[in-house]
Each structure stands twice: as structure tokens, then as C-alpha cells.
Symmetry: C2
Subunit: 659 residues, 2 copies
């Protein structure tokens, strides 16, 4: 990777966030290239992303005209930008997100000439599409230019701009080239010529630009971009309101005063992510946001998050529901909200670090929970069908789509998956001799820690199996720490050994830190306890009343119709506690690309008659015995939620009814 001077750091860091040197930052990611994933479901997801999804999304962006819109805006294609515009007014953002994803991939596979050529072409299109004044949005061209920046609430110009900037940062960090970064800087300068103190007020109706500006500051070394981001965040809830004052847009009160997670789920989670970035980058001037971000995380985590990590209970307004309102079959849980949740948790973890009372273990667990469940569920095993909505129960009608009129989710998933290795490890500014393992997966990591380079090779079949083997490939002379996750779901600490000899690690806030003078060739080994866990919900979650979910390690499981011929999944119940003591995990190499399933025994009621009444009066005793029906024992197979809807359609449920 070419080295380029930036103000704070000598080399760009190939990761979605680069908090190195930020006054409020504790951890920094190990970048793409230095961190790799070589086996297991995360690596497989990433390989599918590289070989299929990136290609598919680029093709869709061509078919739907999103790239042509930009080509016309830049005069590279004949036609009228207004009359010939295709797709939604925010179609540019799909191109930007694809570009970001492609860049993260290129960071690891710079030899991929075809991908590089495609990236170069799109970068050139964006350069051409940018106006003299720095404006760049292919929708607001021609006669629509008069509408630029007139409706921040609804017209997504800052949202599109945010993804442009994020793509530019990724391009710079992946390739070292500053071409697109220059476009982003011109764009940001243009925005700041329109908005700002003494100029026009205006908050972002669909957040995303705030986080982008913080990374632009980090990539360029120009702190003013972060200050602009703070100004935009503080415009939310201004008096008079700049964007209408509705909770939907997070504009009902100043963010610093907000304590409840409300409104459009993706917009909210992006805004909280931006606020977290600001607390990292500008901890003093952004300090008033601190209690808000903490309280919002608690409200989300304790009252409004699905067991799959999804967020957003309502189709209506794509919004969060009330506290404990988490209906399963009508869960919205947009894939983009899962992406945002993952990014928010990661940024909070980078900010607070471990051992500072910031809930590092909970944050890491959240990343793992949403990634392995409600985030990767967004992409089918074929890599080219996508969920926008991720319900926790279905009657067989909900299937992945090849594309959407509003196609935000596929490229959003792609950019996250492409950058996955960069989320897996972190180094520590306070405890500079320690390497933190955030995501467990087979792969390698090479990090600069105090004293030198620490390089590890991780061998594991996690999360299918609990065994983890970490070989020290290279180590500094002095003592350093390897911090391994101690997940909250584990009912016993992992017993770690070095070369077979048990070692007592230091338990710190959701991690176990093994500190010593490491020598190359030493092997750390341990086994995570992957017992089948029945999971119950807070009693006020109505959709989970009298139900249990099955989990094993970080994975949440579901029953799918495809595994239960002869009985409708909706007629299946389990004994109290899901009969969890009887469940066994089984590796099924031929199923769903290779997966662990849970096998156990349940009960099936006789299928209801087609004309079974919707309601009936029941004698008290009859109901007390939960319907005098002849339950029959039935063998059950539960598959990971992430893998559902990859076979023939049929009912699915996560929360299993108990009898």
C-alpha cells in the first residue's frame, strides 16, 4: 500500500474508521491486509461477496441506470440528466456504497485488475459528475438544480453525499490514491459554503454524512470536517426546527437531550454512530452528547433490539417500536439497521476500549450477535438475493429479492462484509502491548504493538465448534497481551492453555487477556462452551410470551419447514425450556453450504382443520391443560437463523412455543 502523508498518521489505515490519535479513542482497528479471514462462515460470506455480490450489485447499478445517471450528469453519456434519470432520487448512494465495498475488497486483493478497472471507471464517472462548485448528485441536475439543498428533510442529498465521502475515504485508504478524496473534499467544502453558522441552518434528514465527515477529517488530517459534523449533529432538534421537528428524523429534540431510541431505525442508528465518532474525535466540544449516546445504547439494548440483533419493530415508518415492542412476524429489522447497529457498537467499543467501564464485552457481543444472525441473514447463500426486512417468524411468503426499488440494503451489506477483517482485531492506545480479538474466526493478524510486531494465526471452526487455536507467528521481545473474547453468553470461562499448559488470564470486561513474553511457535488453545442455550425474553416482550428461542454460542436458531416434512412448523411446540437438555448439535456438511444444526425432540399437534375457528370458547379445564389434543413426538432440526429462506418456502419461527 503506498504511503501518503496525513496530518495525524503516516499511513492510511484500510478500515472504515481510523481513530488513531483521536483524543477520545482507545482502540484502533488492525487494517485490511494485516487482518485476514481464511475460513469459516465469515470468510465464506466475504468470498461470496467478492466473487458474486460485488459483481451482481455493479450489474444492477448498470441495469437500473444508477451509474448512467452519473455518467449523464458528467457529460460522459448523451442524454438529459433530468428527463433520462432512472430510479429513486437517492440512486447515487447505491453506486457510492458499491464503490466503498469494492475498495475494501481491493485493499486485500489489489491484484484484482478487473475490479480495479471497474473502480477506476466509477471514480472517473464521479469526478466528471462533480460540478464546478463541488456539488455532486445526479438527480438534482438541470431544472432540478434550483431545488438543491431546499429539502434536507426528505431529499437525501446529505445521505448521498455521506456515502460519496465514505467511498472516497475507502478509495484513499485502500489504494492510497487521492483522486476521489479530492472530490469528497470539494463536495464537503461546497456543503459548508451553503450551511453553517451564519449561513443556512440544516440538519441531515437521513443521517450518514456526520460519520463520513469524521472519517474525512481523519483521512485528510483536516479537523474542520469533524467540527462541521458536530455542527450538523447539533442542528437536530434546533429551535425552530431545520427539518420539521419530527421524531422520525430525530429532530424532536436536541440529540444531547434524547434518551429514547425512536424514529426511523436506520437514520437513528446512523446518527448515534456519528455522535459516537464525535465523542471520539472531539471529546470536549461534543461532551454533551455523551450521556445521550450511553442512554440510547441502553434503551436500544435493553428494550428495542431483536434477539437476532435486528432493530426496528415497525414496518410503518421503518421505525423503532415502543419499549419491549418486538413482534416477530412483523419485525422490520431492516438489513441496513443491522449494518448500522454493528458499526455503532464497533465505534463505541473503539472509543471506550476495555476495562474503562464502557461495557466493552457487551459491545463486542452485540457486534457478534448481529453479524452472525440478523446482518448476514440479509444475503442469500447464492450471494445475489437480499433481504430488506428480516422477520423472526414467517408463513412462507417472505423471500430474498434480487433487487429493490430502494436498493439501500444490498450494497450496504456488501461494504460491511468486504471490510469484515478490519472489524476483527484492535490495538490499544492505553494498553499498547495488547492485541484485542473482537471477532473469532480462522485467519491471521499482524499488528504493531508496543515493542514490535505481533503476528498470530488463528485456527478454529468457530462458531460451528468451540475450539480455538492461536499460534504466535511472530512476537516482540517484551511482554505483550493477547486478549480473547469472554462472551456474555458463555456459562463458564474458557480454560486457556499455552502449549497445553493451563494459564490464568486476566478477566477484563468481557475479555480474557493473556500477558507474557510470547515466543514464535507458541500455541494458545481453548474451547468455548457451545452448549445449546434456551433463551427467554423480558416478560414484557409480548411476542416471546410462553416461548423460548434456541441459541448456541453466538448463533440464534430457527425451525424451518424444509426440515419438517409431514408437520407444519406452526404446529410444532417444545417442552418447557425448549427441552434444551435434549438438544444436540450436529455438523451437516451437505446442508446449506455446511452448517451445524440442532437436533432435538418436540411435540406436534394435529394439523388444524381447514375450517378451524379463529376463536372458540373453551372450558377452563380444557384450556388449563393447553388444549386436549393428541400431541405427537416429532424430531426437530433447527438451523441458524442467518441461513433461513435458502430452500423451498415455508413457515419459519425463532421463538418456539412451549407446552
Amino acid at each position: 500500500m503506498p504511503q501518503t502523508e496525513t496530518a495525524r498518521n503516516e499511513t492510511p489505515l484500510a478500515a472504515p474508521a481510523d481513530p488513531r490519535g483521536a483524543p477520545g479513542a482507545r482502540l484502533s482497528p488492525v487494517p485490511l491486509g494485516a487482518a485476514t479471514l481464511t475460513g469459516g462462515p465469515l470468510a465464506e460470506a466475504r468470498e461470496r461477496n467478492r466473487t458474486i455480490t460485488l459483481e451482481t450489485i455493479h450489474r444492477r447499478c448498470e441495469e437500473c441506470g444508477a451509474i448512467d445517471n452519473l455518467r449523464r450528469a458528467g457529460g460522459l453519456l448523451a442524454g438529459d440528466p433530468v428527463a433520462d434519470f432512472q430510479g429513486a432520487f437517492y440512486a447515487d448512494s447505491d453506486v457510492h456504497k458499491w464503490l466503498e465495498a469494492a475498495c475494501w475488497q481491493l485493499a486485500e486483493t489489489p491484484e484484482d485488475d478487473a475490479l480495479r478497472a471497474r473502480v477506476d471507471e466509477v471514480v472517473a464517472v464521479l469526478e466528471a459528475a462533480q460540478g464546478e462548485d463541488g456539488y455532486l448528485n445526479s438527480y438534482f441536475m438541470g431544472e432540478r438544480a434550483a431545488r438543491r439543498w431546499t429539502n434536507l428533510r426528505d431529499e437525501h442529498e446529505m445521505y448521498c453525499g455521506g456515502h460519496l465521502v465514505q467511498a472516497a475515504v475507502a478509495h484513499f485508504r485502500a489504494t492510497g490514491e487521492r483522486r476521489l478524496l479530492a472530490v469528497a473534499e470539494r463536495f464537503a467544502a461546497h456543503v459548508w459554503s451553503v450551511f453553517g453558522p451564519g449561513r443556512r441552518p440544516g440538519a441531515d434528514g437521513h443521517p450518514g454524512y456526520e460519520t463520513a465527515l469524521v472519517e474525512l477529517a481523519r483521512a485528510t488530517g483536516d479537523p474542520r470536517y469533524a467540527e462541521q459534523a458536530l455542527w450538523f449533529v447539533e442542528q437536530h432538534g434546533a429551535t425552530p426546527p431545520a427539518i420539521g421537528g419530527r421524531a422520525y428524523h430525530l429532530d424532536h429534540e436536541p440529540l444531547a437531550a434524547q434518551r429514547e431510541v425512536v424514529g426511523h431505525a436506520v437514520r437513528a442508528l446512523y446518527l448515534y454512530t456519528g455522535a459516537t465518532d464525535l465523542l471520539t474525535e472531539l471529546p470536549e466540544s461534543a461532551a454533551s452528547l455523551d450521556p445521550a449516546v450511553d442512554a440510547l445504547w441502553r434503551d436500544f439494548t435493553d428494550r428495542k433490539r431483536y434477539v437476532t440483533g435486528g432493530g426496528g419493530a415497525r414496518h410503518d415508518g421503518e421505525a423503532f417500536g415502543a419499549a419491549w415492542e418486538l413482534d416477530d412476524e412483523r419485525a422490520y429489522a431492516e438489513s441496513c439497521a443491522s449494518v448500522a447497529h454493528f458499526q455503532w457498537a464497533w465505534r463505541m467499543l473503539l472509543r471506550s476500549g476495555v476495562g474503562a467501564g464502557g461495557g466493552a464485552g457487551e459491545l463486542r457481543d452485540a457486534m457478534e450477535q448481529v453479524l452472525h444472525n440478523g446482518l448476514l441473514s440479509g444475503v442469500g447463500l447464492d450471494g445475489e438475493h437480499f433481504f430488506y426486512v428480516n422477520p423472526l417468524a414467517d408463513n412462507g411468503g417472505h423471500r430474498r429479492s434480487p433487487w429493490f426499488g430502494t436498493a439501500c440494503c444490498p450494497p450496504n451489506l456488501a461494504r460491511l462484509v468486504a471490510a469484515l477483517p478490519a472489524y476483527a482485531y484492535a490495538v490499544d492506545s492505553v494498553d499498547p502491548a495488547t492485541l484485542w480479538v473482537l471477532l473469532l474466526a480462522e485467519g491471521r493478524v499482524r499488528a504493531e504493538v508496543a515493542g514490535g510486531t505481533l503476528e498470530l494465526a488463528v485456527t478454529t471452526a468457530y462458531p460451528w465448534e468451540g475450539g480455538v487455536r492461536v499460534e504466535v507467528v511472530r512476537a516482540p521481545e517484551g511482554e505483550c497481551g493477547i486478549a480473547l473474547p469472554a462472551p456474555g453468553w458463555a456459562d463458564a470461562p474458557v480454560e486457556w492453555a499455552v502449549d497445553g499448559v493451563g494459564v490464568a488470564g486476566e478477566a477484563v470486561d468481557g475479555f480474557t487477556v493473556l500477558r507474557r513474553r510470547w515466543r514464535a511457535g507458541e500455541v494458545v488453545s481453548g474451547v468455548y462452551p457451545l452448549a445449546v442455550r434456551p433463551v427467554v425474553a423480558h416478560p414484557w416482550v409480548r411476542a416471546a410470551h410462553g416461548r423460548t428461542a434456541l441459541a448456541r454460542g453466538p448463533l440464534v436458531f430457527c425451525l424451518e419447514q424444509a426440515d419438517h416434512p409431514g408437520v407444519d412448523v406452526r404446529d410444532i411446540a417444545v417442552a418447557g425450556g425448549a427441552g434444551a437438555e435434549g438438544w444436540e448439535a450436529e455438523w451437516r456438511p451437505e446442508l446449506l453450504g455446511g452448517t451445524v444444526v440442532l437436533r432435538g425432540e418436540g411435540l406436534a399437534r394435529p394439523a388444524p382443520a381447514p375450517d378451524a375457528p379463529l376463536y372458540r370458547s373453551a372450558g377452563a379445564r380444557e384450556v388449563g391443560e393447553r388444549e386436549r389434543v393428541a400431541w405427537e413426538r416429532v424430531a426437530l432440526t433447527a438451523v441458524p437463523y442467518r441461513l433461513w429462506a435458502n430452500r423451498e418456502a415455508g413457515p419459519m419461527q425463532v421463538w418456539l412455543p412451549e407446552v
Copy 2:
């Protein structure tokens, strides 16, 4: 009431539908004036409607400018109809519905000069607002006139027109005056000059006009209006689509081919109601609709109706959900859908009559179920606050509103309540000597049956108490029948007696018919078995899993926070079967205007800690015993669902969790 000639019937019938003489009709209502309600909750609701709600709605229509819009359109008020228009583009319909409601009230209280003066004024406004060509809609005036009839899908012109026609029919039937009927005829002629075979295609994006046209045909004796209604109904699902082809507008396939209840709940139920009218009025030419209407009723009743009679599970699109998708806390169950449900069931009952295999008992039960639960819940006990949405569980945030931006529900409820007595009894064209009692309530009825006049005085505290006393005030010479409901919820037939001597009635399809030569002064008496009934749902209704609802007679009950100090209603559970054997009904004259409550014993868990986790792993045994918590016995008081949210806000639930 003045007598006016119509083609088929000598006198107008003061009821929302007048199927007398229609070739497909069996029953006809006993009109307002001849049928009265004098005591009990229906009479109280009607009295509140007369003294408060009608006044309130008229005032809101003035305050919101809906009547002024029409005054300006008619040149009765200075100003520009376009620039000065206030409210939603369908604001006219609120005025029309208020007028219909006021007319039904006037039919019974013609001496109410203040109400009559108000009716006369609004009628004069409508006369003035009508264009030379018959067009009448105060929104599409001035420069907007060019948009008339250009967007039937979205712009509600036919919906507003339908309510205009229904108001005109009510005005004619209530007062005998033809002024507004003439307006309606001119309007319908205008519509038919635009649309029709060989003219423009077009279906009604928000149905309502079809039912109105059928009543216009009946009121005027001109059958062409019914034929127009059939043409409009048959335009749904045309190729190419006239209104876009979406299920939301019931335009995805011809209605005759539809078998599943989908789309916007109110629009769907209005369309089905219109189709039912057509099967009554034009049974031969509308015959293809017959299987559709039957199948749609079955789908609604067996898979998509709330236990409160509400319809429409989704906020998103105000739509029906999938089969068995009936979430409680996010139930939409719009008050207008309850009105439409009631009207549809009534019209199906009038059409099929009793004993013809048309499910008369089920239809009557449906009317009673929705009326006493999810319909009258729409109006507060103060008569001036309204529910648009009627959920079955709430955390305390859902309260009735004084008005709405889209104010369809309040005047819709008002017109139904004003006409209530007309829904209570029916005479029979096939069994002309029998009077059918459809709604049990204290009151009087005077009906012409074969052989003469049958007049009854009903004394009852139903549904608070089961006892019913029917005194024969006048009877014809020959044998005639008094048909009393035999509700499906009753677990034993009522033992009827005449002057204390048991009589064996004829059980016919949800009714018991007592036939004899009646003499004035004879008293029929019986007692409906109002035991507390636990109600369970079809096992595929996820929101009702492990839960029981409490019912008594036609009433569904709920737990409200106001009756349970010291314990959060969300922490209350009941023993299996809701412990129904232990529940007792108690009359509470001081509570909620006087109501029966159910008193029983439940269990309360200790309040969850404020930081209780949303999910937790639980040992199998622990879950099997449904959480090892110290449940405490707690006295429970359940109130009728209809009366909820009339006290201080707090959690409410209909489906009670069992432990």
C-alpha cells in the same frame, strides 16, 4: 313521516339499507321510529351520540373549515375555493357523514328543531355547492377543476360522492324531502356521463360509492343506479387496470375472482359490502360475485378478524395482514373498519335470511361482537374523543383524540350509532309472519308482519344481565313468529317461557323462533347464559399463544392498569384457562358509567428490575418451570374492552398470559 311515492315501495324506510322487494333479499329492517332503544349500553351510546357527538362533530367540521369549503364552493361565503380550502382533499366526506348521522337521528326525533335547522343549512350548502353539471366536491374547484376524475385511485372523489349520496338517501328516508336526493341524482348522472361502457373506464380507489348507488336506486326506484354500481365493482381488476392494479385498492384481480381478504381494510370491507348489496339487488347479473363474497367472508372470519371484531392487522397501509396475523399491541383495527364490518355482516344477513344456509347466526353474532367491542370502543364515554386505531394491548400511550387530520372515523361511528335501532330488527319476505330480533336491547319494535302489526316491548339489562322479557303489546290475529337470537357463544340453549310456561321454540340457524297466535299482554321470558368464558385462538395466531381472553356474553374484557394499583398489568398472568372457574361478574354502577366487571384471581410476578436484560440464557429446568419467580396472588378486575382508556392512562391487555 311524510309518504312519498317510490317505484318499488310506497313509503321510504328510515334505515341505511332498504332491500324491500329486491329479488335477492330475504330480510328487511324495521325502520327508525318503529324500532327504538330505550335502555342499556346501546341506548346510552345513542343518547351520547345525540346529545354530544353530533354537536361535537358539527363543531369540528366548522372549526376545521370543512363546511366553509363547501360554502365557498357554492358562493355562500367569500373567498377562493382553492386558496382558502382547509383540510384534507376528502374533507367533504366528513360533512356528508355528519349529515347522514344527523338525518338518522332526526328520523326518530323530528321535533329536534335545532338539529333540523342545522341539517337544513348543510343541505342548502350542498345544493349551492353543486355545479351546473352535477359535480360536487369542494376541493376540485377553480384551477383544480381540470383534475376532476383524473385520479380515481388516490383522490377520493367517488368516496366523497358516495357519502354525499348516502347522506341524501338518509335525508330522504328521514324527512321525506327530496331536495338532497335530487342533488345526489344529478351527481350520479354526472358521474355516469364521465364513466361507463363506451366512456371512460374507472374503478373507485376508495370504495363506498357502490353501496351508495344501490341505495339511490332503492330510494328513487331507478334501477339504473344499481347497474352503474355493478359496472364500477366489475371495473376492479380490469385489464388494463383502471386504478393501478394494486391489492391495496382491491384492483389486483376482478372481485369475482378474489378469495383472500387483502389490501386496505376499510376499502376492502366497503367493496365487499357493495358487492353484497348487488347480490341482493341484481342477483342474476351480479351472480359471479357470489362465491367471492362468501369466500371473502370466510377468510375474514376464520383468519383475519380480531376477537373484538376489529379488522386490519397492519398500520402499514392500514391493511389486512396475512392469515392468522393478528398482533395485539400493533393491531390497527380502524374504527371505520369496524363500521364496515358491521354493515357488511348486516347486509349479508338481510340478503340470506335465516335457514337458507347463509350462516345467519354467525352473521348476527358478528354484528353483536364488533358492535359491543371494537366498534363502540371508538367513542369515549365523554362522547367527544375518538379512537382511530383500536389495539388489543397497550402500554399506556394510546388515548382517544378530539379529532384527526383524517377525520373519517368520528362521523362514521356517529352515523352508525344514530341508525342503531334500524339494525336491531328485521321482517322476512319468505317467512312473512316472523319478526327477527337481531340485536338484544331494551326497547320497542312495531313491525308489519303477515296478518297485521306485531308490537313488542323488550325489557332487559343485556348484555350486563342475561334475562330478557318480551311483552307482546299488539299482535295480528293469525300465527306469527318471534325469532330470538341463539348466539354461538352460548353453551346451552335459552329456555324460553310464555307467561312462565316453558315453550319449545324452533331452532333455526342461530335463532330460536317462537310461533303461535300471540295475544297482547303475553310475556316471553328467558335468560341468556352469561357465564365467564375463556376464549382461545387458533393455534397459528402468534399473539395469542399461551394466552386466554375473557368474554361474557358478547363482551370481550381486558385488564386495565387503573384497576390494579401496586402491580403493573404487564406483570399479571392468570392460571391456565384464565382460572375462569373462579371469575365472577359484578355490577359496578359507579364505574365507567355503570358496567359489569369480572373479578377473579391472578398471579403477579415481581416487577422486573429497571435494568432487567432483554434476553437471557436460562437453564432448561428454570424455563420449564416458567421462571423461578415468586408469583403472588393478586385480585383482578377485568372491564369491557369497549370501555378501556376512559380513565388514567396505563397498560391494558385483552390476551392474558397464562402460567
